[in-house]
Amino acid sequence: MSNEVILEVNNLVKHFPINEGFLSRENKKVHAVNGISFKLHQGETLGLVGESGCGKSTAGRTIIRLYEATSGEAKFMGRNIYDLSKKEMMTVRRDMQMIFQDPYASLNPRMTVGDIIGEALDIHHLASGQKRTNRIYELLETVGLNSEHANRFPHEFSGGQRQRIGIARALAVNPKLIICDEPISALDVSIQAQIVNMLEELQEQLGLTYLFIAHDLSMVKHISHRIAVMYLGRIVEITTSQDLYDHPMHPYTQALLSAIPIPDPDVELKRSRIVLEGGVPSPIDPPSGCYFRTRCPKAQQQCAQTTPELKDCGNGHLVACHLV
């Protein structure tokens, strides 16, 4: 891991309009991502965690420009990607790839595995003919499949194998950054470990940088160097993964950590759990001030009035809470 910043996200906002009523006027917006900022260093894994609907997937998709940002910037190797033309974006996409959550839906059922992986090579004119075939075989072997698999179709593979194909596709263009959007949540536990180990090995071999989006905090803690916790479209805490577990400072992080069951009956028996009341408020009409205040056991008056900014509490441990 070096100190070189590969991706810098500044105040990224993504709102989705809801069209309704007469002449489809825009009346309301879904506040999916509400001004997030973070830096990602070369060779690092940053985990992005949060409950469903907190905007973590939207953040990932906006960063790779599958969605246009409402405002804010994402600087990839120094250039703001939202300023780039379509053509320039093509070259950036070669360095920035994505692995999707659902290995059943993210592979075209009518294409062979060889063509799925080869498509990326064709689009970016990276290889053709025998070179293309060899590169596909090489990629399949990198992800633990073999060259015979190139002529098969996605339905002939299990979930774990399909996720491997998705990873091979992402690796085809030799990317620097891979955005992993819940790459393991659709897989069985024993298979999850296979994929996570492979991602870790690939990172070591190829010097990849990961933005790892997931809701399973124990897996995220395992794979990430640093973790950002999101709640309703905002980052509430960001620090190294061990520090996050040892000294969680935001009340939401504390509750989230205490809610995760640990596979050990002795530990489970002794643990005290912070059980949050109710559910996540609607992102269409988020609460004023701190978004978490409606469920926060420590909420005070000022939490409803002003929005807490991310503050550095030492050693790069950033927390957005009035009470720390």
Partner: protein, 339 residues
């Protein structure tokens, strides 16, 4: 005393490709007021086992081939459908995995909840609504009178799962079967639901069968655990036995392949290589032999018998045979994870 005894249960599905032996020769029991967890990967037969207990296996293509399921002494397998209807919802309550699809979207919550009561207990509509409201309060839903008039889409996922739990408990069943009740929910909501189930077990003395693939969930709630693989029980024992002294290589694999939140060292996960067996042509010997790092010759040809390790703890593995080499579970040992 045993409330539910399952003996040598085998359930198969007859498809064009052949017979899929989803569950073969499963025996276990559930005591009164006890919570038992069934863990295993998808396709290991855990859901089919409980669906057999509820007699919810669609026939055709499915069929309970063999075995007995005794609820307080009565064999459910041989019960006529009419009698079975009196048991479902009344004596055994069930919570399904997906709270989004297991409620009828066009009926109010009140209508769906009172249906159970009117059917089983023959009480009037108003009385039934009163009781439904009481149970909604019990599972932590405020303003129950208003909520009863609402439709499922007006509830969030966690709230719907609460409604499902309230509904399953309405007739005070002796046994509650929860088939992955928290898989579709967020962790903070999962914590709420698990606290609720723990409370109910202590207050109402309901027996619980909890199906899950999350070992952390069973560690907190269940006193006994059944580990299933390839349609068979490979190991069962008290929660302490399974977590502290597991004896089957599959259980070892499961424990080693999940990262622990409280582990301080960044240790490598140990995955289980390969994928689960094809139950259309189940392997002749031990179902786990193909993925087992300790497999021996005999594992591929003969299925292992159960070895009783203590009163509650038993495992089916050739390694437990007196002549087998001594292999022990190591790696996720507590001391090591902490140091």
């Amino acid at each position: 005393m045993a409330l539910l005894e399952v003996e040598n249960l085998s359930t198969s599905f007859y498809t064009y490709a052949g017979e899929v032996q989803s569950v073969s020769g499963v025996s276990f029991h559930v005591d009164e007021g006890e919570a038992v967890g069934i863990v295993g990967e998808s396709g290991c037969g855990k859901s089919v086992t409980v669906q057999s207990i509820m007699r919810l296996i669609p026939n055709p293509p499915g069929k309970i081939k063999n075995g007995q399921i005794r609820l307080a002494g009565r064999d459910l397998v041989r019960l006529p459908e009419k009698e079975m209807q009196k048991i479902r919802g009344k004596e055994i309550g069930m919570i399904f995995q997906d709270p989004m699809t297991s409620l009828n979207p066009v009926l109010t919550i009140g209508r769906q909840m009172t249906e159970v009561l009117q059917h089983h207990e023959g009480i009037g509509k108003n009385e039934a609504l009163g009781r439904a409201a009481k149970y909604l309060t019990m599972v932590g839903i405020s303003n129950p009178e208003r909520r009863l008039k609402q439709y499922p889409h007006e509830f969030s996922g966690g709230m719907r799962q609460r409604v499902m739990i309230a509904m399953a408990l309405l007739c005070n069943p002796k046994l509650l079967i929860a088939d992955e009740p928290t898989t579709a929910l967020d962790v903070t909501i999962q914590a709420q639901i698990l606290e609720l189930m723990k409370d109910l077990k202590d207050k109402v003395n309901t027996s619980i069968i909890l199906i899950t693939h999350d070992l952390g969930v069973v560690a907190g709630l269940c006193s006994r655990i059944i580990v299933m693989y390839g349609g068979k029980i490979v190991e069962m024992g008290s929660t302490q036995d399974i977590f502290k002294d597991p004896r089957h290589p599959y259980t070892w694999g499961l424990l080693k392949s999940v990262p622990r939140l409280d582990a301080s060292k960044r240790s490598k996960l140990v995955p289980i290589v390969g994928s689960p067996p094809d139950l259309l042509n189940p392997p002749k010997g031990c179902g786990f032999a193909a993925r087992c790092p300790h497999a021996m010759k005999i594992c591929e040809t003969q299925p292992p018998a159960y070895t009783d390790l203590n009163e509650k703890h038993r495992a089916a593995c050739w390694l437990l045979h007196p002549d087998a080499p001594k292999v022990t579970f190591n790696g996720i040992d507590e001391k090591e994870a902490r140091s």
